[in-house]
Subunit: 225 residues, 4 copies
Amino acid sequence: MSASKTFFQLDQAKQQAVVDTALSEFSEHGFHQASTNRMAQVLGIAKGSFFKYFGNKEGLFRYVFEHCKDLFSAPLRSIRAQTQGKDFFTRVEQSLLAGLAFIQRHPRVYRLYIKMLHQERFPLRETLLAEVRAASAKYLRSLVREAQANQELRPGLDQDAVVFFLDAVMDRFLLAHTLAFMDADLGLFQADQETTRHHLAQLMAIIRHGLADDGGTPFEETPHA
Amino acid sequence: MSASKTFFQLDQAKQQAVVDTALSEFSEHGFHQASTNRMAQVLGIAKGSFFKYFGNKEGLFRYVFEHCKDLFSAPLRSIRAQTQGKDFFTRVEQSLLAGLAFIQRHPRVYRLYIKMLHQERFPLRETLLAEVRAASAKYLRSLVREAQANQELRPGLDQDAVVFFLDAVMDRFLLAHTLAFMDADLGLFQADQETTRHHLAQLMAIIRHGLADDGGTPFEETPHA
Amino acid sequence: MSASKTFFQLDQAKQQAVVDTALSEFSEHGFHQASTNRMAQVLGIAKGSFFKYFGNKEGLFRYVFEHCKDLFSAPLRSIRAQTQGKDFFTRVEQSLLAGLAFIQRHPRVYRLYIKMLHQERFPLRETLLAEVRAASAKYLRSLVREAQANQELRPGLDQDAVVFFLDAVMDRFLLAHTLAFMDADLGLFQADQETTRHHLAQLMAIIRHGLADDGGTPFEETPHA
Amino acid sequence: MSASKTFFQLDQAKQQAVVDTALSEFSEHGFHQASTNRMAQVLGIAKGSFFKYFGNKEGLFRYVFEHCKDLFSAPLRSIRAQTQGKDFFTRVEQSLLAGLAFIQRHPRVYRLYIKMLHQERFPLRETLLAEVRAASAKYLRSLVREAQANQELRPGLDQDAVVFFLDAVMDRFLLAHTLAFMDADLGLFQADQETTRHHLAQLMAIIRHGLADDGGTPFEETPHA
DNA sequence: TATGAATGAGAGTTCATTCAT
DNA sequence: TATGAATGAACTCTCATTCAT
C-alpha cells in the first residue's frame, strides 16, 4: 500500500488526519505546489515524519491517491449492481445521480482528480490517471455493450463513439453541477441545487433522442468540405 | 493592456519574441512551474526586463493571455459570419472544424487554455477563464437562439441546457482530436487523424438526433427517485 | 571499555553481531557517512539500543576500534616472537608477509584504518590513530634496536630515521598489495597477486642495500643549498 | 574552467575569497562534511550565489581542485627544468626540498590532497585523484628513466619498483615533515623544523645505498617460506 | 530493558524579485 | 533604460538523538 509499517501503526484518527490534510493540500495546490512543510505544520507533526511514513512526497501522493480510488470504487460497483436489468437510459441517469452524490460527499477527491487531469507533469501522473480512466471507461463500455445487445441503441452507432459521447457529457454535467461544493471556481457554467434536477431531465432527453433506436434515421449526413 | 510604456517602445519583432517565448513557457509548464529565468535566457534579455515590462510574473502571464484571446476572437467572428444563413447543425459542424483548424495552427494557445482550466491556483485564474468561457458561451448561445427562432430544435428544450450540452460535447471532441498536436498525454481518449472524420460524422448524427425537431417525442421522462 | 553494562549482558553472539555490523558500516562509509539507522536495521535491533549501549555514535566507533586493536595486537606479538633470533632483514620481510596475511583475513579492519588515517574530522580521530601508530612504531623500533645491537645496520644511521623509513615503505607496500582485497580504489599503484612476490623481492633488496652494513660508504653527502 | 561567467566577472579579491574559503572548508572537512551554508556565512554572501557560480557543490569542489592543480603544476615543471643534467639523487633531493617548500606555502592544498586520498566516495574522487597521481608518477618515472639511461641505478632494479619505492618514501617524508604546518594531527611521526635537515640527509643516504650502482650485490636473496 | 516513533536542525538546491550599476 | 548579480525564503529530504511506552 506504499506506506511504511510505521504509518499503519498510528492510531486510526491520526492516519485519517494525515490523509485528510494531504488530500486537502494536494486537491488545493496540485502536486508541485503542494508543500510538505505546510502539511506538517497544519498537522502539528515534524517534517521528517512524512518521509518516515511515505518515503518521499511522491509516496505520500500515491497513498492519498490509492485512498481516493478506494473511496471511488465501492459506489461504482454498487450502482452497477443496483441497476442491473434496468433499461440503458435509466442506468445512465442513475449513474449521474450517483456521481453527484459522491462528489457532494467527497468534493476534495473530485477536485484532486480534476487537478491531476490537466496539471503539469508530475512523477506518477500518467500511471495514476490511466487507472482512473480505465475504471471509468470500463464501466461505461459495459453499459453500452449490454445496451447494444438489447438493441436499445440506434443501429449504426459506434461503441467507441457512444462511450466517448457519454463520457464527455456526463463528465461535464458532473463538473457543472458540483462546482458549488468545491471552493474552486473553474469559470465554467455552474448550476445551483434547484436547477440541477431540471437540467438532468433535459440532458437525459437529449441523450435519449441522440442514442435511442427510434425506428428510422430522418437526417441525412452532411457532406464535408 | 497590462504592460508598461517601456515594453511598447520595443520594436515589434522583440515584442513578438517576448510573447512567443512566454507563450511557449507557460503552455508547456503552466504558471508556477514556468521559469522567468529560463524565458530571459531563451530571449537573451535581462531577467529584470520582465519586471520592468510587466511588473511581475503575473503581469507577464496576463499579457500573454490577452494576446491569445485576440488570436482566438478573430476566427470566432469569422466562422459566425461565414455560416450565416446555414442550418444550425451545419453551423455546429463548421464550428467544430474551425476549432480543429485553429488548434492545429495554434497548439500552444490551446494547451495554455487546457493548462489554465484545471491547474494549480494562480492569481488571475478565475478572472481570465471567465473571459474565455463568456466568449464561447456567447457564441454558442447566439447560434442556439437563431436555431430556436427558425424552429430547428425540438420544442421543450431549454436554451441553457442546449448550450451546456453543446459546450460539453464540442469541448471534449476538440480535446480528444487535437491531443496528437500537443505533447501532453492527458490520459484521455486520443484519436488519430484518420478517425477524426468518421468520429465527427457519428457525433453530428447524435447531436442531430438529440436536438433536432423530429416531429414527436417518443420517450417519456423517467421519474426521479 | 567504553560500553555500558547493558551491552555486556547481551549474549556473545549478539555482541559479536553488533561489532561486526558496525565494523562493516564504518569501514565502508567512514565515520560521518556511516548511518546508525542502517546498522540498526541490518541488525534488527532498535535504534535506541546503540545509544543505550554506547552513549552515541562516537562511543560505538570507539568500541569497534578497540575491538580491531585487539585483533591486530595478537599477530604483532606473535610474529615478533616467531622471528626472534633471525637476522633483521628476514624479520622485516616476515613482518611484511604477516601484514599481507592479516589484511587478507581482516580486510575491513585495514580499510577502517585507511579510512581513519585521512578522513574527515571526527571526535576521537587523533587519540585513536596515535594508539595505532604507537603500537606500530614500538614494534619497528624494537626490531631496529636489536639490529643495531647486532651491528646489522650501517653505522651512522639514526634509529628514528630508520624506523621512519621502514614505516613508510612497509605501509605503502601493504597498501599497494592489498587494495585488491578492498573495494576502494584509492588511485594508487595496485599490484595483482602474481607480482606481489616479485615486488617484495625487489623491495627487500632495496631495503638491504639501503640499510645494511656493507663495510664502506662509497657515496659522499650532497651539500644542501 | 567549470565556473560560470558570473563568477569570473567578480573582482579578483572576491574570486580569491571564494576559492580561499572553499579550500579551507574542503581541506578541513572533506567533501560531504563540508557545508555550503557555512561557506556562505563565512564569506557573507547568499547561499544561492555558490549555485549561480558553480552549479552545485560538486562544481565548486572541482573548481577548487583545478585551482590547486594549477598551483601545483608550475613548481613541478620548474624543479624539473632547474635540475636538468644533475645526478639522479640530487634531483630526488631537490624534489623533496621543493615539495617541502610548496607545502609550507600551501598547507591547505596539501591537506586537501590528503583528504581526497582516503576519504569516503564523492562524485569526482577517482577522476581527480587519477590526475594527481598521473602527474606525480609521470614526473618520477621520467627521473628514473633518465637515471637508468645514465647507468646511475643498480642493474636488476625494476623501473616500476623504483618508482613505487620513491613515491612511498618521498610521500611519507613530506607528510611527516609538513604536519606541523597543517592544523590536522594525523597521528604520524612529526618532525620539527630543526630535525628536518638531518632527517633528509639520512633518508638520502638510505636511498642512495638502496638504489645506486655500487659495483656489486653483496647480499643474497632470502628464500620465501 | 528494549523499543522505534518523533523530532528538528541542517543539508543542497531553486527562483521570483530587487537594485546598484 | 537595461542589466544581471545578489538575495533569501522556501523547497524536499536526512539522520543522530530522545523519550514515552
